[in-house]
Amino acid sequence: MIPVLSIAAWSAWNSDQGTPELSWIPSLQRRRLSPLDRVACQLARECFERAAMPPDAPAMVLASRLGELCVLARILESIRLREPVSPANFGGSVHHAALGHLSILNKNRMPARAVSAGPSTFAAGFWETFCMAEAHPDAPVLLLVVEDTFPTPFLGDACNFSGGANGLGILLSPEALSGRPALTISVEGNGAPASPEALLAWLRAPDNDLTLVLPSGALRCLATRP
């Protein structure tokens, strides 16, 4: 069975807004957060507040193409200079670091998974979110799609991000919530390409429920009547 999930809350962070301040996090812990982690924590906080949901309730999925590449670069620089690697950088360089921080900050012991899939990373976030919901049918799922910038010459033209850390958070509930749109996935059907922009437009003005169609590789939006 493919779950049908209600959008309990969502939140977006644009790099124009700078880096989130996160004043509610103790400074000792805040210092360890990369810009990517900060955006993830901000999005999660806003989603929990808007949905009035305890932050230890949901399972979590993080989708990011580059992940903590900026932190990894500090390790690569240490190695280049044959200097000892910083233990904090090493721990913070793992792709799912933001999930670790969120789990610790929120005392959240639910399962959490991080994914990456090149240009299909956005789609993979939704695939994994529905896998998580399938495996844990009673739990809400928080999806965080986050990205930070890295100098393009190193990554090549295929992966051209600029501007700084940004992201989208969607908190999905397995219960039908009145007045909230529903989201599901399907392998069949046609629709417009499900770009982050298209999904944001739908989140801002959800006339219909939405089916994300995933034929091979791509992800497309299909509006369906509630």
Partner: protein, 390 residues
Amino acid sequence: MGMPAMGAVCALGCGREEISRALLSGREDFLSPMALLCREAEVLCGIVPGEIPELPAELRRFSCRAHRLAWMALQQILPEVRERAERLGPGRIGVVVGSSTAGIDSTEAAYPVWKETGSVPAGFSWEHQHEMGSAAGFVRDACGVSGPCWSLTTACSSGAKVFASARSLLRMGLCDVVVTGGVDTLCRTTMEGFDSLQSLSHGRCTPFAAGRDGLNLGEGAAFFLLEREDAEVRLLGVGESSDAHHMNAPDPQGRGAEASMRAALADAGLLPADVGYLNLHGTSTPLNDAMEAQAVARVFPDGVPCASTKPLTGHCLGAAGAVEAALCWIGLAASEPLVPRHLSSGVPDSALPALRMVNDARATLSRRAWLSSSFAFGGSNCTLALGRRP
């Protein structure tokens, strides 16, 4: 869920036959010395023996150590993958691959050149070699399939968590077959990183022994076909949990590890008494083994035959869950008793609850259900339950 085919490569060798022979050989010398970079010392590592073959021309853009190791393991299951792709269509076959560093060796070589010259060396492609998603992208292209495809990357639990995602793709009817598993290689980043945490052993690691002084790193790849159709070896259940404790250290009481094992048992509908063997995470760091021994003692108050295979393979990080699932698969599929045994030359740590270690690779154990645990940075835990068809 059936697991009809398995391919693996690690320090024990390449493929089911070689790995089985190594497990039964009684040999204890599978780890080899490698030099650290930032201080003058050598550490023992589980290096894949022999030559790592180059990729075929049509896949050459992916060439890096990780994808070449993946190719060694994948070739072992390609006939089964191709048969299903022809029968069901390539779009019905998904790919979920666990890795923590993908082809990082390419970036480790390219980064200093880029810093010093402003351009990357010829042949370097971040997108195809090091990008985390390339671990899954390579497997998809190498298998010629086109279903949903992504890399799952939660450090040392990656290669176990993939089974949860793969199974959900099958249960939701989004795929008919999923190629799943994990890959990671020895690299400077993890060697120097674990050294910075003072987590590397001075010799061969001695899990759960008194005076254990850390882990040996390893490398490997293991891939499985997972499908709804039953097979001799089955995936019975998956358990996941988060510690919510610390980025680099496990919960000292092992509550996350305990929750992960209990969740796997509940998911598989098993009682502790049904479990014939437990492949421990058993890294041999003082903290991991202390918390894991307590967790195992609470979940299995009557004891359970168990082993850490880290002294045989090294800790394969993002591939560990898949490589250790492969060792279990080999034991479960074997015609004669074959157990991925515990190898620890030390004296058991008397401060920890005593565990029933299996030292004999030919021990006869119930094969109804075997568990394998993997725990990671950020308190990310996963336990798999595999079993043999009665």
